[in-house]
């Protein structure tokens, strides 16, 4: 009833191949974008934008990156945190080498460095799969972490070992650095995420994405049908690491402002894998839902005692948060192994047939 595509006829191939062929989807997306671009910057306070929306968007992008690799190509990776780190450190180095280049170009450009690193560590995927691959991506994780500490060149040999974001502006507006306003940074992050999500959805719909999904579903059969495993797997690693790298660069430059190696440790790799699995493997929408769940849940849980007026000390709260997140992950895996995106698919079907049960 509410979500009925009957009667929406396509009269050209172009219309049939649109990203959102259904009118309701287009309207919903337009509404979401309007809220994200106009309503939130206008009405949201600094805490909401800086501590909720910006991390949510950045982790969504990282989750999309991992989803390309794990959800669409079927290669499990625990190295996302380190690939984000590669992007961040590359971006930092480039700002100190090319101080005059536009910061947005550098942020996007840093993705290429992590793409190259990702391709190198993706090479073993040609011979091994499953949990064996997990170990090789863990090798990437720990090796790169060690590089971030040991190679002083990466952080310009400063004493703290941390990378700090210089102030950069575009069109006279300060975008990065301590004095950039949260709203500006939010809008930059949002624009990059929207554009890159759109690019990702088109890659996935196209020839490359289909090759990835064939590799995921059955690699030998895909090979027999003419998909080249080398190209498909390595391109998945490259695109995935590119997204992770850009997300990492944004995380440091547009959110944290400064970062050490702890910001890219193995726990972040786990968190992003959680986002992907909880959101739904092989779903872009799911990446957003998973990222929202994982980033917003701790904030909401942290606010609950304050609302209820119960006084709990910070350490206890932290432990209880861990327990609740762990329990919720297990709960969601049991209730809906296909992720939150599946709930949306079920909801859509219900809307379609409403008011009838089926």
């Amino acid at each position: 009833m509410f979500y009925r595509e009957a009667g929406q006829f396509k009269t050209s191939y172009k219309a049939d191949q649109a990203v959102f062929p259904i009118l309701q989807d287009r309207l919903a997306i337009a509404a979401f974008l309007a809220i994200a671009f106009i309503v939130i910057p206008y009405f949201g306070n600094d805490f909401f934008i800086n501590s909720m929306m910006i991390p949510f968007l950045i982790f969504s992008l990282a989750a999309i990156g991992l989803n390309i690799l794990t959800g669409y190509t079927g290669q499990i990776s625990l190295g996302t945190g380190a690939f984000m780190g590669v992007g961040a450190y590359a971006c930092y180095k480039m700002t100190s080498i090319f101080p005059d280049v536009n910061i947005i170009i550098l942020i996007i450009g840093s993705g290429f460095f992590s793409a190259i690193v990702g391709m190198i560590f993706g090479l073993p995927s040609l011979r091994i799969k499953g949990f064996y691959l997990v170990v090789t991506t863990l090798a990437a994780q720990f090796f790169l972490e060690w590089c971030f500490i040991t190679i002083g060149w990466l952080y310009n040999y400063n004493d703290s070992g941390a990378i700090e974001v210089p102030q950069r502006e575009m069109f006279g507006i300060i975008i990065t650095g301590a004095s950039a306003s949260p709203v500006t940074r939010y809008l930059v992050v949002l624009s990059i995420v929207v554009v890159m999500t759109w690019v990702a959805s088109n890659i996935i719909r196209g020839r490359i994405g289909r090759a990835w999904m064939m590799i995921r579903d059955m690699d030998i059969a895909a090979e027999l049908m003419g998909v080249r495993p080398l190209q498909a797997k390595i391109s998945a690693f490259a695109v995935s690491s590119f997204y992770a790298g850009v997300a990492g660069a944004m995380m440091v430059f547009l959110w944290l402002g400064a970062a050490e190696v702890e910001s890219f440790d193995v726990n972040h790799s786990f968190l992003i894998l959680f986002m992907v699995v909880l959101g739904g493997l092989g779903s872009l929408l799911g990446s957003f839902m998973g990222a929202a769940f994982i980033t917003l849940l701790p904030i909401i849980l942290g606010a609950i005692p304050g609302i209820l007026g119960v006084d709990i000390n910070a350490a206890t709260l932290e432990h209880v948060k861990f327990m609740i997140i762990g329990a919720l992950i297990i709960f969601f895996l049991i209730m809906e192994p296909h992720g939150l995106a599946r709930l949306w698919a079920i909801g859509k079907q219900k809307l379609r047939v409403w008011p009838f049960p089926y």
């Binding site: 949990f131 997990v134 863990l138 894998l273 432990h319 948060k321 992950i329 895996l333």
Partner: protein, 318 residues
């Protein structure tokens, strides 16, 4: 040339020049390797019987050790605390089987894997909630474990052997032997192997999967407790152990996921390799190579032998 000399000649000159130090490094490697093997053993037990890649094994080690120390801190005698800690692991095994595994039968591997990561998050939170986050000393003496050290004269120098390390190696050997006998000679052990071989066939001859899973998680819990005691005796019981436990993964890669002897030998290779590489080559790279050496070794190894040292050859059919 200097670099080549430092890589290919100098370390060996050092090894030959100070054989006592080299033996000490080997011994350290052996002990670390034993502990890696024990963690890997816990992984293998569960993977064999249920096909679940139990990510929570590392936190189970911490949790077991913490409950032992925690019971003792409450004034329970050490040996009774040991039994209580075992009871905790049994309860954990039963709960995991009831709450998680039973509900997730027949799901893809990655879902089960994620569930065990969720479990480890839960256990981290629970452990810190109950016992607090700070490191605790292991009750080595109260358990009757030796604490002294022996100095051996060898090759014109001395090698120091900590008694606790010798005890760790012995306990590991006993555990492995016990598990081997349990697997091959007892009724439950045969049932475990049947389940590992084929779930459906095992079900059809009347083996209860649920029961087997609870038993095997409990067995992994026992191994975890032993590991926790040994590791805790060398350095305090803390949650940092959980990241170290990840090193069991490259150990498993070397040994093959389903092989108990593989886990032992893989652990020893990683232990020896890591220590020797750190001591003799680490300085060239700026130190701290222990963190990744095991993984990179496993990665290189996988390129040549994807199924591990003792794993079964992977045959794929379309």
């Amino acid at each position: 040339m200097d670099l080549l000399y430092n890589i290919f000649v100098d370390p060996f000159v050092q090894m030959a020049g100070t054989p006592d130090f080299f033996l000490q490094v080997l011994w350290e490697g052996f002990v670390t390797g034993t502990l890696y093997s024990l963690i890997a053993l816990g992984f293998v037990l569960i993977f064999k019987a249920s096909g679940v890649f139990n990510f929570a094994q590392g936190i189970m080690v911490v949790f077991a050790a913490l409950s032992l120390v925690g019971f003792h801190a409450l004034g329970v005698p050490a040996y009774l605390a040991l039994f209580l800690a075992l009871a905790v692991m049994a309860a954990l095994a039963w709960t995991v089987e009831r709450v998680i595994l039973r509900k997730l039968v027949n799901q893809p591997e990655i879902i089960l894997f994620m569930a065990t990561i969720g479990l480890s998050y839960f256990l981290i939170g629970l452990g810190e909630f109950i016992f607090g986050g700070e490191p605790k000393p292991m009750i080595t003496e109260e358990l009757g474990l030796p604490t002294g050290s022996t100095v051996v004269d060898v090759a014109g120098g001395i090698v120091i052997l900590q008694h606790i390390d010798i005890a760790a190696a012995l306990i590991a050997a006993v555990l492995v032997l016990g598990l081997a006998i349990f697997f091959s000679k007892t009724r439950i052990g045969r049932a475990l192997r049947a389940v590992a071989d084929d779930h459906q066939a095992a079900l059809s001859v009347g083996i209860s999967l649920n029961q087997i899973w609870a038993i095997v998680w409990f067995a992994a819990g026992i191994v975890a407790l032993a590991t926790g005691i040994m590791w805790g005796a060398r350095s305090d019981v803390s949650f940092a152990l959980q990241i170290v436990a990840l090193k069991a993964l490259p150990v498993l890669i070397l040994g093959g996921f389903t092989s108990v002897p593989g886990a032992i030998i893989g652990g020893l290779i990683i232990g020896f390799g890591e220590k020797i590489f750190e001591v003799y080559w680490g300085g060239l790279l700026g130190g701290g190579v222990e963190g990744w050496f095991a993984y990179v070794l496993a990665l290189i190894f996988l390129l040549f032998r994807p199924q591990g040292l003792f794993g079964e050859k992977i045959i794929e059919r379309v």
